[in-house]
C-alpha cells in the first residue's frame, strides 16, 4: 500500500516491540534480582544483580533433564513425522492416485482433533504397553499432532517443484520411486527442513500428553517441568523466572536463525500463491 515510513511509523514499531517483548524483559530482570527484592519492590533494575536464582533453578529441579527429555522426544517425533509425511505428501502432490481430497480432508480433520478426545484411550494403551515414563510413550501419541501438520505443509512444498523435472527423469528411464528419491526429494529438502522446524517446535511445546503420560519427574518435558516448579504453599518466582529464561534461550536462537523459513512454513498452510 503506502510506502511512507515516517517517524510515527517507527514509533509504532517501537511500542509494538516493547509491548510484545515486555513479559520476557521483565522475567529476565526478575531472574537476576536477589530473591528478597522480587517480593518487596517493583524496581525495574536491581542494583545487586545475582545469578543465585539460576543456580537454584538448576538444582531444585532437574531442569537440564527436562530439556534433554524434550529434545529427545521432539527430535524423534520430527524424524518419524518427516519420513512418513514426505512419502504421503509426495503421493498427494504429484502422483496420480484417487481419493486425494479424502486423504487431505482426513489429514486436516485429524490436525483439528481436540487432544482431550483421544487422551484417555491413548493413556490406557500406553499404560498397557508399559511405555509410561519413557520417550516412546510420548513419541507415539505425538504422531497425532506432528504427522498431519507435516503432511499439510509438505504437500505445498512438493507442489511447487516444476513438473518438467519428473518428465525428464521418466524419459531417462527412472522408476517413479527413483524420481522421488533422487530428484524431487533433494529439491524439496529446504521445505522438508522448514517442516522439520515447525514439527519440532510443536512437539517441544506439547503439554497435555506430556502431563498425563510422563508423570515421573525424571521423564518430564520442559513445559510440564516449568509448570511444576511451584510447591503447594509458595511459588518460587526467582527459580521460575530463571528457568523460563534458560528454556527460552534455545527457542529464541532457533527463531533468530530460521525466521524466514518458519514464516514461509507457517504461511504456506494458509495462502495460495
Amino acid at each position: 500500500m503506502e510506502n511512507r515510513t515516517g517517524k510515527g511509523f517507527y514509533l509504532f514499531l517501537a511500542v509494538f516491540v516493547f509491548v510484545v517483548m515486555f513479559p520476557f524483559f521483565w522475567v529476565f530482570l526478575t531472574s537476576i534480582k536477589p530473591v528478597g527484592e522480587i517480593f518487596s519492590s517493583f524496581k525495574w533494575f536491581t542494583t545487586n544483580p545475582t545469578l543465585d536464582s539460576y543456580g537454584a533453578a538448576l538444582t531444585n529441579r532437574p531442569l537440564l533433564i527436562y530439556m534433554l527429555n524434550s529434545f529427545v522426544v521432539a527430535g524423534l517425533t520430527t524424524i518419524l513425522a518427516l519420513v512418513f509425511a514426505s512419502l504421503t505428501a509426495y503421493a498427494i502432490a504429484r502422483l496420480p492416485i484417487k481419493g486425494k481430497g479424502f486423504i487431505l480432508g482426513l489429514v486436516l480433520a485429524s490436525s483439528m482433533f481436540p487432544q482431550i478426545a483421544i487422551i484417555s484411550p491413548i493413556f490406557n494403551l500406553v499404560t498397557d504397553l508399559g511405555l509410561r515414563n519413557s520417550y516412546l510413550g510420548l513419541v507415539f501419541p505425538y504422531i497425532s499432532i506432528s504427522l498431519p501438520l507435516a503432511i499439510w505443509i509438505l504437500a505445498t512444498f512438493f507442489k511447487r517443484i516444476p513438473f518438467e523435472l519428473e518428465e525428464a527423469a521418466k524419459l531417462d528411464g527412472a522408476t517413479p520411486f527413483q524420481t522421488f528419491r533422487k530428484i524431487i526429494f533433494p529439491l524439496a529438502a529446504p521445505g522438508v527442513f522448514t517442516t522439520g522446524i515447525l514439527v519440532f517446535i510443536a512437539a517441544w511445546n506439547e503439554y497435555l500428553f506430556a502431563l498425563t503420560i510422563n508423570s515421573d519427574d525424571r521423564w518430564r518435558t520442559v513445559p510440564v517441568g516449568i509448570s511444576m516448579y511451584q510447591s503447594q504453599y509458595s511459588i518460587p518466582w526467582g527459580d521460575i523466572t530463571a528457568a523460563t529464561v534458560i528454556v527460552t534461550i534455545p527457542i529464541v536462537i532457533i527463531v533468530l536463525i530460521f525466521q524466514r523459513r518458519i514464516v514461509s512454513g507457517l504461511t504456506s498452510g494458509s495462502v495460495k500463491d
Binding site: 503506502e2 492416485i97 484417555s120 509448570s227
Partner: protein, 443 residues
C-alpha cells in the same frame, strides 16, 4: 526374493502412490480415529479406574475370578470349621444349608468348560502366590441372571450368619461367624454387574450446571480472544505491509511469543498478574484499570480477562503473520487503479483489501478458533480453572474428571462433547471456505 525385489522397483506411479500414502493412513487411524472411537465407547460405561468393581468396561455381568477363586477357597474351609465347632443343631443346619448353596452355585459356575479351565489356571497361580496380570484370565463373563442370583444368595447368607453372630454373647463363637459373614459379603462383590449405562452420562451432563458453565467459558474465551486477535492482527499486518528497515527484528518479535510453549507463557503471565509481586497487576492498579492488584487472579471476571489477555499476547503475532502473507498476494496494480479512479483509502480497504483477503482471514480464523476452543494448557497453568471454576474450559473439566477423579466414563463423555463441538465448528468453517482449502495441494 530377487524377483520380488525387482517387481517392487517397477511399481507403477499409481501403485507407488498408494504404497506411500498407506503407512501414514495406518498411523492416523491408530493414533487419532481409533482413540476417538474408544473415547466414545468408554463414555457409554460407568467406567472408573479407581474402583475395582468398575475398572473394566463390562457389557454383561462379569466375575473377578482371581478374587473369587481366592475367596471361595476360604469360604469352604471356614464354613467347615464353623460346622465343627458349633453345638447348636439349628446353627449347624444353617451352616450346612449355606455350604450346600455355595457348592451348588459354584458347580453351576464351573459347569462352563471355559470358566472351569480359567478357575484351575488361577488356582495354580494363587498357589504359587503369583498375581494374575492377564485381564483375559482374571475376568470372565457370566450369565446376567446367574450373576444376580449368586450375588444375592451370598449377600443373604452373609446376613444370616451376621444375625447368628449378633445373637451370640460369647465372642469366641461370634467372631469367626462374623468373619465368614464378611467374607461371603465381599465375595458377593466379586460378581460385577454390567456397568453399561448407554447415553445416561450424556443425559446427566445436559443437566449439569458445571458442564454448561465450562462450555460457556470456552465459548466466551474463544469468541472474545479470536475477535481481538483478528482485529489487532489485521491492524498490525496492514501497518507493516510495506518495506522498511528492521523487518527482521519485527519478524523475530512476532515469532518468539508464538514459538515458546504455552505452558511457559502461562507461567510467565501468572507471575506478571500475581497479586503481590506481579508487575502488570501492580501497574494496572496504579492506573486504576483494576480495583486492586489481586483482582486479576482472584475474581471470576479478572480470571477471564487474564487468560484472554495472555492468549491475545501469544497468538496475535501469529495471526498478523498469516494475514500479512495474504496481503502480499494482493497485486498492487489494483490499488493503483483504484487511486486513478479516485477511491480513498477507506474505500480501498473495504472494496479491495477485505474481499481479496477473505480466504486468508477465514483460514486463519478456522485454525485459531479450533485452537482456542480446545484450550487447555493456558488455563490449566495460569488459573487452574479457578477461582471457583470461573475460568474452567471444557477441556480442563474433562481432564480433571478423567485424571484427577479417574472417572474414565464421565470424563470420556466430556471429551466427546468437546469433539462434537469442534466438529460442528469446523463443519461451518469448511462450508464457508469451500474447496479453497485444498487448492494448491492436489493436482
Amino acid at each position: 526374493m530377487d524377483r520380488k525385489k525387482r517387481r517392487q522397483f517397477h511399481l507403477s506411479e499409481k501403485q507407488l502412490g498408494y504404497a506411500m500414502v498407506l503407512p501414514s493412513l495406518i498411523l492416523i487411524v491408530a493414533v487419532v480415529l481409533w482413540p476417538v472411537a474408544q473415547s466414545f465407547y468408554n463414555s457409554l460405561f460407568d467406567y472408573r479406574l479407581n474402583d475395582p468393581t468398575r475398572s473394566q468396561r463390562m457389557l454383561s455381568s462379569t466375575m473377578d475370578l482371581e478374587r473369587y477363586v481366592d475367596n471361595y477357597f476360604y469360604i469352604d474351609r471356614q464354613l467347615e470349621n464353623l460346622a465343627d465347632e458349633t453345638s447348636n443343631p439349628e446353627v449347624e443346619q444353617t451352616i450346612a444349608d449355606i455350604r450346600a448353596g455355595v457348592e451348588e452355585f459354584h458347580s453351576q459356575l464351573i459347569s462352563d468348560e471355559e470358566i472351569k479351565e480359567k478357575v484351575e489356571q488361577i488356582d495354580d497361580l494363587l498357589m504359587s502366590f503369583t498375581p494374575v496380570r492377564d485381564s483375559e484370565l482374571k475376568y470372565t463373563k457370566v450369565d446376567n441372571d446367574f450373576a444376580e442370583e449368586y450375588s444375592k444368595a451370598l449377600q443373604s447368607y452373609s446376613e444370616e450368619l451376621t444375625k447368628i453372630a449378633e445373637a451370640n454373647q460369647d465372642e469366641a463363637v461370634s467372631q469367626p461367624l462374623q468373619q465368614t459373614a464378611d467374607l461371603l459379603s465381599s465375595t458377593s462383590g466379586n460378581i460385577l454387574e454390567s456397568n453399561f449405562v448407554g447415553l445416561a452420562h450424556y443425559a446427566d451432563y445436559l443437566k449439569d450446571a458445571r458442564m454448561w458453565r465450562s462450555l460457556w467459558n470456552t465459548t466466551l474465551f474463544t469468541v472474545v480472544s479470536v475477535s481481538l486477535e483478528l482485529v489487532f492482527g489485521l491492524g498490525i499486518a496492514l501497518l507493516i505491509n510495506r518495506s522498511f528497515r528492521g523487518r527482521g527484528l519485527i519478524r523475530a518479535t512476532v515469532l518468539v511469543p508464538w514459538a515458546i510453549p504455552t505452558a511457559v507463557a502461562a507461567m510467565m503471565w501468572r507471575f506478571l498478574y500475581d497479586g503481590q509481586s506481579g508487575v502488570i497487576a501492580h501497574y494496572f492498579e496504579q492506573l486504576n484499570i483494576i480495583p486492586d492488584a489481586s483482582w486479576l487472579l482472584s475474581t471470576s471476571a479478572g480470571g477471564m480477562v487474564s487468560i484472554i489477555l495472555a492468549d491475545v499476547w501469544k497468538t496475535t503475532p501469529y495471526m498478523a503473520l498469516l494475514l500479512l502473507a495474504g496481503l502480499q498476494t494482493i497485486p498492487t496494480s489494483l490499488y493503483e487503479a483504484a487511486n486513478v479512479d479516485g477511491a480513498n483509502k477507506w474505500q480501498q480497504f473495504w472494496r479491495i483489501t477485505l474481499p481479496l483477503l477473505k480466504p486468508a482471514i477465514l483460514v486463519a480464523l478456522l485454525f485459531r478458533t479450533l485452537d482456542a476452543f480446545r484450550v487447555f494448557d493456558l488455563i490449566y497453568v495460569l488459573t487452574g480453572g479457578g477461582p471457583a471454576n470461573a475460568t474452567e474450559s471444557i477441556s480442563v473439566y474433562a481432564y480433571k474428571t478423567l485424571f484427577a477423579q479417574q472417572n474414565f466414563g464421565e470424563g470420556s463423555t466430556l471429551s466427546v462433547i468437546v469433539f462434537i463441538c469442534v466438529a460442528i465448528i469446523s463443519f461451518i468453517y469448511v462450508k464457508l471456505i469451500g474447496s479453497d482449502l485444498f487448492e494448491g495441494r492436489t493436482k
